[in-house]
Symmetry: C2
Subunit: 429 residues, 2 copies
């Protein structure tokens, strides 16, 4: 094998273990070796237990298959509860807090044979204040947030898969900055029991993985979905470039990479085009901020009341701005969302997939901020499924990605399209 075990995708690892071509122990050992080599610099984890993970892998090698993830390790963003590791939510006052239960997503993975490896770094309450994680491609640059640790661990070949979540841009942005595929599901796709609530109108679970094909496996485990098939070759995929309201706020290289991706997909047989940005979409970023602030002020009122001196100024400001949002303002922002969602639905009559920037550009330098959520806020408000696919590099040699957007609820179709797009943009040598 030319590829090391720890560099492989999650589904491929599971196939090798199932077919007896690799042991779960060897897979786990390869991941641990990588972590021991790199973790002191990347700091992807808040905690893990290599010995327990190795013991679980050895047990898996001696056991009947529990399911499609048998023997495969995964990481969990530290806003997601596990009964094995504490959950700190990126805060000081909950540091070391040990939940009694696994989040549903963790338990579903364990039931499918997956091995919980450890917890990955998040920002404070999955908002702006960064954790200690660095971008594995350049340790002086942010990995993005808030799913910082999951993105960095997967990008650095420490783990094949990490759970992430998104309220503004917390999954697609770190995926893009770290150069790994990311999938944020349609809002409401996956059960959130045991996942910290920040904004119930927006919070969505998702995945960071080494391979795009891994998303449909993980999705089927969490919600029982059946992967979609692409239409046959005579029915080309319809992919439309959507510059959106913030196109000129992004970097030249991001604009270039989107255009090059569309051209490459056209050359590969897709029916490509471009969609004008509906006027109304220009209100979405502001509406997302209103909905998020209102929701956060209610969801995290306890910590705001009880730990005022241990919160970042950014987070306190967010709660206070949310407490000042009237119910009417919140409802009006939801009406804006619903109107834009109907317009978006009409755009999907003529296209299957939207292609749009995943982030403003490369990961910015410095670890004191996680980058701008501008290119995801609106999509996240619209509750649509999104996939980011690495494509090209920026002037600093750091990864860029394009973002694919599908119809709300049609995640399986989007994932099938994303596999095809990825095959065209990143053909396996």
């Amino acid at each position: 094998m030319t590829q090391e075990l720890n560099q492989m995708g999650f589904a491929q690892m599971a196939r090798l273990i199932r077919d007896g071509r690799a042991t779960a122990e060897a897979v786990m050992q390869a991941c641990i070796e990588r972590i021991e080599l790199r973790e002191h610099e990347v700091v992807a984890f808040t905690c893990y237990d290599a010995d327990a993970a190795l013991a679980a892998a050895r047990l898996a090698d001696q056991s009947e298959s529990k399911g499609p993830l048998h023997g495969v390790p995964f990481g969990v963003k530290d806003i997601i509860d596990t009964d094995q590791f504490p959950t700190g939510w990126g805060t000081t006052f909950y540091d070391g807090y040990q939940p009694t239960r696994n989040a549903s997503c963790v338990e579903m993975f364990i039931r499918a044979g997956g091995i919980l490896f450890g917890k990955t770094v998040t920002t404070e309450f999955a908002y702006f204040k960064p954790g200690k994680t660095a971008n594995p491609h350049n340790l002086g640059h942010t990995p993005g947030g808030s799913s910082s640790g999951s993105a960095a661990a997967v990008a650095d070949n420490m783990l094949p898969f990490g759970f992430g979540s998104q309220t503004a841009a917390s999954l697609i942005r770190p995926a893009s900055y770290c150069g790994v595929p990311g999938y944020k599901a349609s809002h409401g796709s996956f059960d959130l029991q045991g996942v910290m609530s920040l904004s119930p109108s927006l919070d969505t679970l998702g995945f960071l993985a080494r391979e795009v094909e891994d998303f449909e496996l993980a999705r089927s485990i969490l919600c029982g979905s059946t992967p979609s098939e692409l239409p046959d070759q005579d029915t080309p995929l319809r992919i439309s470039l959507f510059r959106g309201p913030h196109w000129t706020d992004g970097s030249l290289e991001m604009r270039d990479v989107c255009q090059r991706a569309i051209d490459a997909l056209k050359a590969a047989g897709a029916q490509t085009g471009e969609l004008a940005c509906p006027e109304m979409f220009k209100s979405l970023t502001e509406a997302q901020k209103i909905v998020m602030a209102y929701d956060v002020a209610h969801a995290r009122i306890y910590e705001y009341s009880r730990y005022p001196d241990q919160l970042s100024t950014q987070f306190k400001d967010l709660v206070e701005s949310g407490l000042a949002v009237s119910r009417t303002d919140f409802e009006n922002a939801c009406i804006t969302r619903d109107r834009a969602a109907r317009i978006l639905e009409s755009l999907f009559v003529d296209t299957d997939v939207i292609l749009t920037p995943a982030a403003p550009g490369e990961a910015p330098a410095g670890l004191d901020a996680t980058g701008d959520p501008l290119f995801s806020r609106g999509w996240n408000l619209l509750q649509v499924p999104c996939v980011s696919i690495p494509y090209g590099k920026g002037p600093n040699g750091l990864p860029l990605s394009v973002q694919l957007v599908g119809r709300t609820g049609a995640d399986d179709d989007l994932l099938a399209a994303a596999k095809w797009v990825n095959q065209q943009l990143n053909p396996k040598s």
Copy 2:
């Protein structure tokens, strides 16, 4: 005063305390005396701390007003976390489990000056297996479930207010059986941080209170809403009887009480009528069962996996039926819901409020079941706001109620209408 302090509504108590006409201590003492007299038979609480509550009331009497609930006690269904009392969810294995945080609804009430008195009994996971609570009107009859303790405590004048929740019929049914006003909000109205998740598509927080007027105060504290005004007297409220798909499954006395309520409201000046049941509404109960089973299987997969021997057969069957629901079946049930919601929206063109049964009839005899959720499943699936208003008694002398249903999101209008309806049906002597 002809009314004892512990018999008063929550808003009235707050007014008396604010105006110096009663002390918070006297209010609390009156509630405690009632509890000490009756709790051994009614068993409304899983735990409470009378000394701590009295101390908090005395402190309130010596303090500046914290807000509109200053000095007023409230109870919390035991699927809702508090940092003062453990949360058992009606199970044996979580009995005594102490959360680190208050649920958002609890914290918002405390910030408004309310005094957390104790936790009220729920059924196992807020599903079917009853707790120990009896109906205060007849200890041999069920109080209904799953908000059993909150309904019984309020009905028995132990507390003026209790938090409840509803996934199938868990708030409107116990309110009806215990003869107290109940309000189940539009789905998504109130933050659910710290509230046990059973079915995210259906779970909704709500209130049980001595007075209908208390709902708008509690609602404004939780979500910042502004109470609605009724139209002037020249614009009569339009109220329509809706027999719905299960009319003949209910008791004769329930049908009679709905008809008598409509007649009384017509006599009081409402513009009354009757709405035929759309054919499609006959699918709603079954669709609710599918959505609920699917959701529960995901939300409570941890307990199903880890405590199989400590779950009731009913609950295990529910999870297993949910694990057998395909994603497609779940999505089809959601499509049924969405279609019916559009039909319901069209019905509200010609009516302001729907009046329909709250439960099949009086509280059934026996404490080994909590009654049939048939008259709420469909409404709960539709995510509409519902208010139950006590009206009349059945052949066993136990309370009956009518249920008012409003447009999704128009809770403030429904609460204004409910106040008027209650004034007509239950005029203050």
